[in-house]
Symmetry: C2
Subunit: 403 residues, 2 copies
């Protein structure tokens, strides 16, 4: 009959999905899901393959398989010795860290996915920076979080603006579920939250009883200037939870990150970590690689390389971009954030840059809501070689000239 609807097997099966599974959303892969082009991409914070420690990883694998294969290859928990290494690194920051409170994960991105499971019911408020790492924030939004973005200046998140927000919400009897912040070499701006603001943020968290999720993916990648204390190390009341990753300091493909914080935080994350532990094998390989100062020496080598590439990028920008394009020279991390000249649209600049064979991330991709940010671009100096960076910036320079 006309208009009659034949129920397909797909539809019959879809009737069986849980309430949460019915509204399909695609997984958020970040850089990994992007298509690569022949042009020079400065768009994503990939690692530089030139410094992947291939021989050392192979040696670590050989040692684990020779000495510890029975435990590494059978069923088992993540390697306790790796939890202890992570706790030891936190103690070097001045945190009174306990290995029991470390949860090793498949990248810190996994923790970002689990955060809304732990904290967010639809309509709950989550505070983020604007601009920020949208790979994280999209996951909060998918869980139905009401995102409130606090602006950033050259000293990081504007803490007065945050305080105002917390005060307003408290006056209405409301409490945000958490504050998501990247205090060190922020993604995308490369800014570092000042010491004064760090202290105030930690104090506000305790006063308003709001957890702070400190995503410190770049904390070890300081190639200039002095290290500031982490939020976790400043926190005495226990409201700061820390996300760390081995993606930036070793290799993203190994998928190793961690969460550190209160025992009940770890317990809740574990509830939703569907695969159980991160496994006895890969945690042993990474721990073996890292031991005897090898990870520290590798980080030193990374910082030498990234300092050079950041400087090359800054110099090339000064040479090829219009003088009205301004930026902060980064002291670490993976990114450089360029404020465009008045009236230049990041999206339209990208169209031209692609014609010249270069890619970057338009600033709008770094703001929840997507309306703000077309006046800035993010450039990654992490992946490409110094030569490619120079060439890429030169090509983007030509795109400016076209406009």
């Amino acid at each position: 009959l006309e208009g009659e609807h034949q129920v397909t097997t797909e539809e019959k099966m879809a009737q069986l999905f849980s309430a949460r599974a019915r509204e399909l959303h695609a997984p958020v892969y970040g850089a990994a899901g992007q298509e690569r082009h022949d042009s020079i991409s400065l768009a994503f914070g990939l690692a530089d393959p030139a410094l992947f420690p291939r021989e050392e990883l192979l040696a670590a694998t050989a040692a684990v398989l020779a000495d510890d294969a029975s435990a590494a290859l059978n069923y088992g928990m993540s390697y306790r010795g790796f939890d202890e290494q992570i706790a030891e690194r936190l103690r070097r920051e001045g945190v009174d860290a306990d290995a029991d409170n470390v949860l090793v994960t498949h990248g810190s991105g996994q923790v970002l996915s689990l955060l809304p499971d732990v904290f967010v019911d639809p309509g709950d408020t989550v505070i983020v920076e604007g601009p920020t790492f949208m790979g994280a924030v999209k996951k909060f939004a998918l869980a139905g979080a009401n995102l409130v973005a606090i602006p950033i200046d050259r000293d990081g998140m504007d803490i007065d603006s945050l305080e105002e927000q917390l005060r307003d919400m408290a006056a209405q009897g409301r409490r945000p579920k958490f504050i998501y912040v990247i205090p060190t070499f922020q993604n995308p701006t490369g800014t570092v939250l000042s010491l004064e603001r760090r202290k105030k943020l930690v104090a506000l968290a305790a006063e308003y009883e709001v957890p702070v999720i400190e995503d410190d993916a770049y904390i070890d990648l300081r190639f200039r200037g002095e290290r500031l204390p982490s939020l976790l190390s400043l926190d005495t009341a226990g409201w700061v939870m820390r996300l760390g990753t081995y993606s930036k300091i070793l290799a993203p493909g190994l998928r190793i990150g961690y969460a550190y914080g209160r025992p009940e935080f770890k317990q809740r994350l574990e509830m939703f970590k569907s695969e159980g532990t991160t496994g006895p094998y890969i945690t042993r390989v990474v721990a073996k690689f890292a031991e005897n100062g090898r990870l520290d020496r590798h980080i030193d080598a990374l910082n030498d390389l990234y300092r050079h590439k950041a400087d090359v990028m800054a110099q090339a920008i000064e040479q090829h971009f219009p003088r009205e394009a301004t930026f902060l020279r980064p002291d670490g991390g993976f990114f450089l954030w360029v404020q465009l000249p008045q009236g230049v649209s990041a999206k339209r600049l990208l169209e031209r840059a692609r014609e010249h064979g270069a890619e970057f991330l338009p600033g709008g991709n770094c703001y929840a809501g997507g309306r703000a940010g077309d006046d800035a671009i993010r450039l990654a100096f992490s992946e490409q070689s110094a030569e490619q960076i120079q060439l890429g910036i030169e090509r983007i320079g030509r795109a400016f000239a076209d406009m």
Copy 2:
């Protein structure tokens, strides 16, 4: 004041947990979370470390790091070539498999955790076998599933009983969310679902429009007799979804499994797979290991070893257990299921066995609800050496004599 309650920081934070996170439940680790003793454990299906292919895994790692490190160690998806290997193995079973429908996971246990996310709202019915693999079924129960157990005989799940259940539910306008079945060398009974029953199960799934989750962890571990077609290979209507694992045929510690089925099944699993892809590194290492028939040769070697150990166990049982303890001689898998003599309690037998220095899994641990099964025990011949198996069975024999 007496009776006044000081609100702790823990409690203040707990107020922020999502509705789902508020009711804490411990993660289900199965064998991995168990404490090991000095006594001989025949309780868990761990792999035999004697056959971990250490040299070959190291060679595969060396090849990946030498030839493909840039892709393996950077951000990226799971290795497409591994999806294709899995699809090719399914095609050898007679499945018209498409690599696009393979989802590689951190062990098939991860898929078991994700299944309730995809299908189960509290109160939904899930059909399982009785006895079955409680590591899986506990996860369904935690999500609030109403479990219905279908009995097993020597030909596997009693399909007539299943049909009756489906008919009764349909008469009430109800449909189970899925049927979870281990058709080949079932855990814990070691039984194989007969060909006739396989065909009927697949037909019932299509008739009643109920997904079948075929957990075929042991399908390749047949060391005697002829292979039966998998449910997936018999299914033309698309209601069967397959779980596979490399834990039993390679090494559990690598945490590699997969799901195969309809595209919308894969999509939904991905929604809840918090860490994104299983990663470019470990999937390349396993694929490199498996290529050129290496995995098949390894499986042949495993089957030679497991056949021997199963036979040793059967012989030792005949020698040391009372004649009234009966069992099916397994043709594959990891387990042997012993029906105890009338009046012997599995739990009480375990108390005695522990005194003699041996462990097994009491049958009650294999039934949802926990009331049934105290008349049987599960013995794993997978982990221990032939000598340890003989000694362990002899010790359990002494426990029988004590009762």
